[in-house]
Amino acid sequence: MTAWLVRRVAASVAIVFVVVTLTFILMDLAPGKPMLGPTERLADPEAEAELRRQFGLDGPLGVRYVSYLRQLARGNLGASFGLRRPVADALAEAIPNTLLLAGAALLIDFLIGLGLGVYQALRVHRLPDVALGNVTLFLYSVPTFWLGLILLLVFGAWLRWFPVGGMSDPVLCPTVSSFYCTMDRLWHLALPALTLGIVGAAGTARFQRAAMLEVAGQDYVRTARAKGASERRVVLRHQLRNALLSFITLFGLAFPFLLTGAVLIETIFAWPGMGRLATDAILRRDFPVVNAAVLLASTLVVTGSLLADVLLAVADPRLRVRDLA
């Protein structure tokens, strides 16, 4: 087990390294000058050249790559010329926002998805199952950002049940009371998290339903039923627990997707998270931010998949390590 773990961690580190190098090279090859100011204002070419020099954007690719690695080794992520501040600061402020959104979305995804999937499996082929099945099918098939736009319009602009974007009320939040502020933040979080979560929940529900039905047909469950165990017991002890294992794998794969799926939602709901930060940076050719974001995202992905594999191996002793490799 330990040997396998060590090998996997080493491989993960190598993967991240390759990804970061690839990104560095690709961003450099991409056409487009790094944007140092708004394009509709007259610019001074000498000033821009000087700024480029100061930000280290000049010079051959190899030299810049080496100095970037050295900088990274010292823990310095560089300075963003679009945001005019150290990249680490910008990321440090953006990441918690994305984690909040992704976490809330995942919670909704898990709770609703699992619940729905189990409920559907218990009422399989009857009306609730069929109706819910169609609803989840629809939600699973819509473009997430389209759903977000419509929800924002209907519930934010027309019905005014939810705020139109942002993380909190800029006037009342910090001042009135911290309880009010917490409620206010939850209120702002609701719509974007619901948008992300519901689409995810639809997928999870379908997956969970299928997993539970698959387990239901297996011998040991039929045996338990034949032996007279109550339906509830059968579900809880056997179907749910085994289906849960497949869910862990799904979780490991879902988390990084939430981070990136959140990109469009963050834009629509004016949520200052990492996805929006990285996308803006790519469009503006803000290399330091892009490299740091990719580094972070790929680290999270490989960690997530590693964690999922470890959890799976721990939870189900039947799965031998070799099969996971």
Binding site: A30, T279, S298
Partner: protein, 308 residues
């Protein structure tokens, strides 16, 4: 809309319904076919896909305008649905139903071709990795991990940044190149399990080459998950194209694609919601149909269900 267009539209609907019925009858003799149509959504799925395919092919017949024609940029922009323009008009006073119909061509084509590229690549890589195992497998699968490690949106943004404005062909290729990783894992798993079976050992004993063994013996038995993943893959590509267009880097104008129609209409959602609603619904319907068909296919082609 002209009378001819109305007739053609009704004919398309009728044709789609007939196609479903015909398919059902043709496959009633096979166990798989019967299993497929046991799902009520499967029939609807086939019907919807057939309808959109017919509309895409016969777009000039079912519409009465040119998709690029700007009818009256001052008086007819962003008009709500009416008898003359059944789905309304967009910001450039172009008829929306016409653009949805012609958009079906591009969106479906991007979806199908993108999926084709993705599935082909994924199958090849997965088959080779599963068949040869050991270091070939290790290297290829690490490559897949690298591909999965990079968030897809970033990869696409960077790829598109690299090439500036992507012509349609290149866009399809790029989407395909970033979508094959999941399929390769799936195929590899199937190949790994099939390769130990007797008939494969027999083929190899007789001296068949690796390629022959893979293509004639291993893959056909692993076909089921490939087909299912293909059906679902088109849906994913459609959604991806929509997301890219929303970010401003999808199918170039003025060619209509459902994705770039949503992107065009998004700023006017509050005052002209139909411009975003209808292309979005089109995507949702097609992806729903694909998912339903994919699920039913998975059920139908799954050999483990034989016993039931």
């Amino acid at each position: 809309m002209t009378l001819q267009a109305w007739f053609a539209l009704l004919a398309a609907l009728a044709l789609a319904a007939w196609a479903v019925g015909a398919l059902r009858r043709r496959t009633a003799r096979h166990e798989a076919g019967r299993r497929f149509f046991r799902h009520p959504t499967a029939a609807w799925g086939i019907g919807i896909l057939a309808f959109f395919a017919i509309v895409a092919v016969a777009a000039p017949l079912v519409t009465s305008f040119d998709p690029r024609q700007q009818l009256d940029i001052v008086r007819l922009k962003n008009q709500p649905p009416s008898w003359s323009y059944i789905l309304g008009t967009d910001l450039y006073s172009r008829d929306l139903w016409t653009r949805v119909a012609y958009g079906a061509r591009i969106s479906l084509m991007v979806g199908a071709l993108g999926m084709l590229v993705a599935v082909t690549l994924g199958t090849l890589v997965g088959a080779v990795a599963g068949y040869y195992r050991r270091w070939v497998d290790a290297v290829l699968m690490r490559g897949v991990d690298v591909g999965l490690a990079l968030p897809r949106i970033f990869v696409l943004l960077i790829a598109i940044a690299l090439f500036g404005r992507l012509p349609l062909a290149l866009l399809v290729l790029v989407i395909g190149f970033t979508s094959w990783f999941g399929t390769s894992r799936l195929v590899r798993a199937e190949v790994l399990s099939v390769r130990e079976r007797d008939f494969v050992a027999a083929a190899r004993a007789v001296g068949a080459g690796a390629a022959r063994v893979i293509f004639r013996h291993v893959l056909p038995n692993a076909a089921a998950p490939i087909i299912v993943s293909a059906a679902l893959g088109i849906g994913n590509v459609l959604l991806l194209e929509a997301a890219l267009s929303f970010l401003g880097i999808g199918v170039p104008p003025p060619a209509p694609s459902w994705g770039n129609m949503i992107a065009d209409g998004a700023p006017y959602l509050a005052t002209a919601p139909w411009t975003t609603l209808f292309p979005g619904l089109a995507i949702a319907l097609v992806v729903m149909a694909l998912n339903a068909v994919g699920d039913a296919l998975r059920d139908a082609l799954d050999p483990r269900q034989e016993a039931m």
